[in-house]
């Protein structure tokens, strides 16, 4: 009986499938999240964040750090991960780049901020990084997959609950840092973070086109953020599909708060 009902539901959705529905991974992968899962995720992310700061220190500008945190925390309201306390930091690097670690630690380089023209561009870069956190890309790339929350297996490692896993927590931190500094995310993960990012920034009230303009203008590419042209093309499709209008750019507030020009 249950099978029949499921078949009926499937038939229903197939028959009413939106023609414009693109073949992409659905973002609604709901996991039963436990407090332990989240603690494990934050614990790993915090250590990786310390490694990022070991390579690039925070820019010594309290006002700028506060401003970037305000933009980031405002965006995080619409991220879907209300259990995390997102933290944002501007780091000392001339490169145009940004990083995020599990648990909600997000970094943007001063080099990237210098190339921005308005708050919406900053919001786009931060929202893209929030997107990686939302989809737990680092944790998935470490090989934690399965039926449940990816970080559930991480909890098992942290609690020593399995004898078959021979990696240590320190090795995990290094591997996660490798993903951010050397290997980069997979192409599909970048697209997923881009898509989620523009949706978050649009829901927050920013103009998502500003992010695309930033990508185009800076040709924002690095080992960890490749395929600029392809990303721009896909983002334009997504933005068009969202039908979002009247987004703000907040140029004046940005200039007032970012005195690095």
């Amino acid at each position: 009986m249950r099978f029949i009902l499921y078949s009926l539901i499937c038939s229903f959705f197939i028959s009413f499938a939106d023609e414009n529905f693109r073949a992409r991974k659905h973002i609604e992968r709901w996991y039963k999240v436990t407090d332990e899962d989240i603690r494990a995720e934050v614990l790993l992310g915090r250590e990786v964040a310390a490694k990022i700061l070991g390579k690039y220190d925070l820019v010594d500008d309290e006002a700028l750090q506060f401003y970037v945190n305000k933009v980031g925390k405002y965006l995080a309201l619409y991220s879907g991960r209300g259990e995390l306390d997102f933290k944002f930091g501007v780091i000392n690097s001339k490169e145009i780049n940004a990083y995020s670690t599990p648990g909600g630690y997000v970094f943007v380089t001063i080099g990237a901020i210098r190339k921005m023209k308005n708050e919406a561009e900053l919001a786009g870069v931060l929202a893209h990084e929030i997107g990686h956190v939302v989809h737990m890309h680092v944790i998935k790339d470490l090989g934690f997959k399965g039926k449940g929350l990816p970080s559930s297996s991480l909890v098992m490692i942290l609690s020593g609950g399995t004898q078959t896993i021979s990696v240590t927590f320190s090795e995990l931190i290094d591997k996660a840092t490798d993903i951010l500094f050397e290997r980069g995310f997979r192409k599909e993960e970048e697209f997923e973070a881009d898509e989620t990012g523009v949706i978050i920034m649009a829901m927050a009230g920013y103009d998502p086109k500003a992010y695309v303009e930033f990508l185009k203008r800076t040709k924002y590419e690095s080992v960890t953020h490749p395929n600029n042209k392809e990303r721009v093309k896909r983002l334009e499709l997504v933005i068009n599909e969202l039908k979002f209008k009247d987004g703000k750019r907040m140029g004046e507030r940005f200039i007032k708060n970012v005195e690095v020009f």
């Binding site: 925070l58 405002y74 619409y78 949706i199 920013y206 969202l242 039908k243």
Partner: protein
């Protein structure tokens, strides 16, 4: 036949409207399944919605008499977990306790011969900077300040 199957499916779905929870701190309910349509309500984390339909990455929901579309990323079938405590330095948080527990267990694992590579390791590949991390974590912005900051974007 296709119409009949769809009708039965529709009846089934409405009869079993699923309750879901807002897992985002905030979620806007839109008149149509796109971000360009009118916002009919804004709801907060933990609030319940009845799911009536689904289209792509959007759910058609009912909340407090209002019907509209919410982006799937922001809701979940499970009650959302509580906010994770931040490491503030005032007192030992649950996370630190967790780390200590984990370290103890990792040490125990090492004695079982599971961390041979780790013991051979002379130095870490990357250096950690906890001082700056704590500086970053010490930035506190109240919910009111964040809300006020977002006012200009409305």
């Amino acid at each position: 036949m296709k119409v009949l199957v769809s009708l039965v499916g529709l009846i089934f779905i409405f009869a079993n409207a699923q309750t879901m929870y807002v897992k985002s701190l905030k979620a806007k309910i839109y008149e149509k399944p796109n971000l360009g349509s009118r916002v009919v309500a804004t709801i907060k984390k933990g609030e319940k919605v009845k799911v009536l339909d689904k289209k792509g990455n959007w759910h058609f929901v009912k909340y407090d008499g209002v019907k509209g579309w919410v982006y799937s990323l922001l809701i979940s079938p499970d009650k959302p977990p509580k906010k994770v405590p931040v490491l503030g330095g005032e007192k030992e948080s649950d996370i630190i306790k967790g780390r200590k527990r984990s370290s103890t267990n990792i040490t125990a694992a090492a004695s079982r011969g599971l961390t041979e590579d780790f013991r051979k390791r002379k130095k870490e590949k990357y250096v950690s900077n906890y001082r700056s991390l704590e500086r970053m974590e010490s930035i506190r912005i109240s919910q009111e300040e964040i809300e006020e900051f977002g006012e200009k974007l409305k």
